[in-house]
Amino acid sequence: MPSTLGQKLWDSHIVRTAPGEPDLLYVDLHLVHEVTSPQAFEGLRLAGRHVRRPDLTLATMDHNVPTRGGARAADDLSRKQMDVLAENCRREGIPLHQIGSRRQGIVHVIGPELGLTQPGMLIVCGDSHTSTHGAFGALAFGIGTSEVELVLATQCLPQTRARDLAVTVEGDLPLGVTAKDVVLGLIGRTGISFGQGHLVEYRGSTMRGLSMEGRMTLCNMSIEWGAKAGMVSPDDTTYAYLERRPHAPRGAAWDLAVDYWRSLATDVDAVFDHEILLDATRLEPHVTWGTNPGQVAPVTGRVPEPLTDTDVRALRYMDLRPGTALADIAIDRVFIGSCTNARLEDLRAASKVIAGKHVHPKVRAMVVPGSATVKRAAEDEGLDAIFKAAGFEWRNAGCSMCLGMNPDILAPGERCASTSNRNFEGRQGAGGRTHLMSPPMAAAAAVTGHLVDVRELL
């Protein structure tokens, strides 16, 4: 029977299936971080259980690590959380990329750059942005702490089969429009819960033309419209990215793997439960105006009239009036970072916009690379010098102001142009106001001091 990429990935991980029960799926890679794992390890310990496959489990510190001033966290609780992760990993023999180590970084940045994220795999993590890894043609989704415990103990996860949804994007992206704008435009159209219960496959000529970084940005934000997982069929772009990465197969194994990966693509006659069509050639750079990612508009637009109670509350929280041109909104802070947009390509794109310019005197801007590896690579190219010369702070890797668990937070009332993925109330700091956008758009906002159409600066 013709099958979709999503269903092929599902079927190939079934350990056991029985009528009236969820399928038991096997997990190829379990990523772990300090915030959602301590209670899971504690549960194991209390039950006298151990980690079944420490060799398929990788831990990193990312959520509350400081991004400057050495490896010491600012507060006791954060330090404790990191110490507990280190101790749990030591006890169970799980490799850990500690703060300060060469490979440390945001969990969804380091998996791919180490070559651990490969097509055909099932990857989970106690983190909703695990969908990022779907960019490689893997089935990847976020789980809760009880499920983390279950996977640590058994390497398996019972799951009820999800439906198939295709998002087909056709055409070349216009100048100044990025993968971030594709996904923001998509969520603006579907709302923030349309994807629920679905495995989403992003397809079409636009996907084929996107780099792995762009595909990761898109898959990353699948959860922002409720999808169970987002994925892109693997192709030569995928293989070129993977080849010779530390954990990628080599020699004869590489050829075998590529043969298998090529078989994963959705069959021509396969049927999706839904399909959404997007015309990439008509997309513009987008910015959010509200307090969820679906409250978004092209930067050439205006703050809309509120249609729902949620809109009314969002406008009040954001201190915005309907009819205001989005490009007239002044900002205080710029954050270039997060698992959505802090890879080398993102930093390159932002640096192009600011080269030879300076951050607006009223704005405080910072770049937080997605991993220590990204940071080194950017420095090797001299991107740090460009950012610093323009007046940006150049930080160490971590989640940082994407969620503000470390000292990088907005003050109440501060307004931020951010390349992260969530503009929820207080996400970047209690009372802080977040506008989501692409790295070039955030860089342009840093220079002008207000939201602005990056195409005016190109």
Binding site: T36, L116, T145, E147, I192, P249, D309, F424, A430
Partner: protein, 195 residues
């Protein structure tokens, strides 16, 4: 997990849609390494407003949270259902939930049940008009009932069994040890190992 069959109590009407887990339990409270102690921080930022529904004395002691669609969207933090439970709630009634949040509730023994908009609206209005009104969320009979009404709800059969029996899901999966080993033996040799 403790077995849970039914919950009877008063309702807290949280009349908002798309409530995300950052609102349910803000990030500064995710640093605890225990599963308990999150209750005082439930809806921490919203609670700063005096008239927020959770602050109203007439709703003190409510154990059924009634709320809008897409409840629990955003982060996968299980701290969200932990906080809700810790604050005394044993059931939630909403038109829809975000997938990960719903799964987390089931693992935590928090009865997250789904009813159509109109029935949730009725419960919401009832709770607003008469904060002392009692409802029962009955997992065995799959219904939410109160004075003069009984609404049937559907729920994943497996999750229902687990909650009714208070089953240890890890123990259940461990029973399939031999299937797991068989699967492991046939995994492709090129698949990566971390060490």
């Amino acid at each position: 997990m403790q077995a849970v069959k039914r919950v009877t109590g008063r309702m807290l009407p949280l009349d908002r849609a798309d409530v995300d887990t950052d609102q349910i339990i803000p990030k500064q409270f995710l640093k605890r390494i225990e599963r308990t102690g999150f209750g005082p921080f439930l809806f921490y930022d919203w609670r700063q407003a005096e008239d927020f529904v959770l602050n109203r004395p007439e709703h003190d002691g409510a154990s059924v949270l009634v709320t809008g669609a897409n409840f629990g969207c955003g982060s996968s933090r299980e701290h969200a259902p932990w906080a809700i439970r810790d604050a005394g709630f044993r059931a939630i009634v909403a038109p829809t939930y975000a997938d990960i949040f719903k799964a987390n509730c089931y693992k935590t023994g928090l009865l997250a049940v789904t009813l159509p908009d109109s029935q949730v609206r009725h419960l919401m209005d009832l709770a607003l008009e008469d904060p002392s009104a009692q409802v029962t969320v009955d997992l065995e009979k799959q219904e939410v009932r109160g004075d003069g009404f009984a609404y049937r709800f559907e729920i994943d059969a497996f999750a229902r069994e687990n909650m009714l029996g208070g089953l240890d899901e890890i123990g259940l999966v461990e029973r399939h040890q031999s299937s797991i080993s068989t699967y492991e033996a046939q995994r492709s040799a090129w698949l990566p190992a971390v060490k």
